[in-house]
Amino acid sequence: MHSHSQSFPVLAGFAVLIPAHNEAATIGGLVEAAKEHLGGDVVVIDDASTDETACIARSAGATVLPLSCNLGAWGATQAGMRYALRTGYQQVLTMDADGQHLPEYLPLLLATLVSGEVDVVIGACPERGSRARQLAWSYFRKLTGLGIEDLTSGFRAYNEAAMKVLAAPDATLLDYQDVGVLLLLRHARLRLREIPVPMRERDHGGSRVFPSWLVVGKYMLQTSLLCLAKVGMNGKRRVAQR
């Protein structure tokens, strides 16, 4: 375990990215746990929180990117990736701030990534969630042809090639970090692998992504449209930045 806050830029290594919106209750413990289990730098992207999230994360030893407007989980994650690329990190790991991802599995994700056979490792727990969610997932799997069991998991590890694809302006107008992101990665012919990990239920509050049925409906429509618009774009074009 090592924490290098003394030098900038950090020219190698990896960072853990945690997008957080009003997660004061969990963020401190999470940053410490991530540092303890994996070492390296922890970057908390504070998605315009109105509570003490940024402060607590900072005092727990994280670098904080304070977003001045709320960009949502994906916008925040992308900010972290842009930062990581600029500061010279070669791998990033992403995890949710609500406590459903277990920091003790971070090393497993990183080890699978650095084995070099894949560009993105997804910590998957497809058995979580309600029947409705399972149904939605199988619907999107059929629609996209993505062979991914857990489409929405934010517990992932990316190498530099994947970071470059996702930090590009093309990925900026995505609203969720699931199907759209996976389609972009497939389009860039990157190799994805899922590894099974256990997940916990949220510690505090309800789901940030799906607070109501109206939002779920909007999500289903928006994501379906995205899938249909991207039909046939299965890696025929290589992303220039790669």
Partner: protein, 132 residues
């Protein structure tokens, strides 16, 4: 009672005047001003010569000439709305990237500040420009 032609010509001129005023006051950005000026010019022309549609409509097989004006007007409005949404998406992307960039810069500044708390005369951060 004045002629209808004068009413519509006057409306067109008023719109054109308003647009020029808004551009002059810096309320309307260049490309948008041009679109609206073209609209005002059309209103003036069609207002002055309302018979234009009577000659054009039969060429398009439209039996009742005023309908052509309505259909064209609605079509142009739809195009205008679409271009507005395109512009909004472009701006949204720009805003998101700027927000991200600002956060990155703030993090950098914070880091620089922490790294050298004692140096007060240092001025701007040394390698910051190269990195960003």
């Amino acid at each position: 009672m004045i002629d209808y032609q004068w009413t519509s010509t006057l409306i067109g001129l008023l719109i054109a005047g308003l647009i020029l005023f808004l551009v002059r006051r810096d309320h309307l950005h260049g490309p948008y001003a041009i679109w609206w000026l073209v609209v005002a010019a059309m209103v003036v022309v069609l207002g002055a010569f309302p018979r234009l549609f009577d000659t054009v409509a039969p060429l398009f097989g439209v039996a009742y000439p005023p309908i052509l004006a309505v259909v064209l007007g609605m079509g142009l409005l739809l195009i205008k709305m679409l271009t507005m949404d395109l512009e909004r998406s472009r701006q949204e992307r720009k805003l998101r990237r700027l927000t991200q960039r600002l956060a990155m810069l703030e993090a950098l500044l914070e880091k620089e500040r922490r790294n050298r708390p004692a140096q007060k005369e240092g001025g701007a951060g040394g390698n910051g420009d190269q990195v960003w």
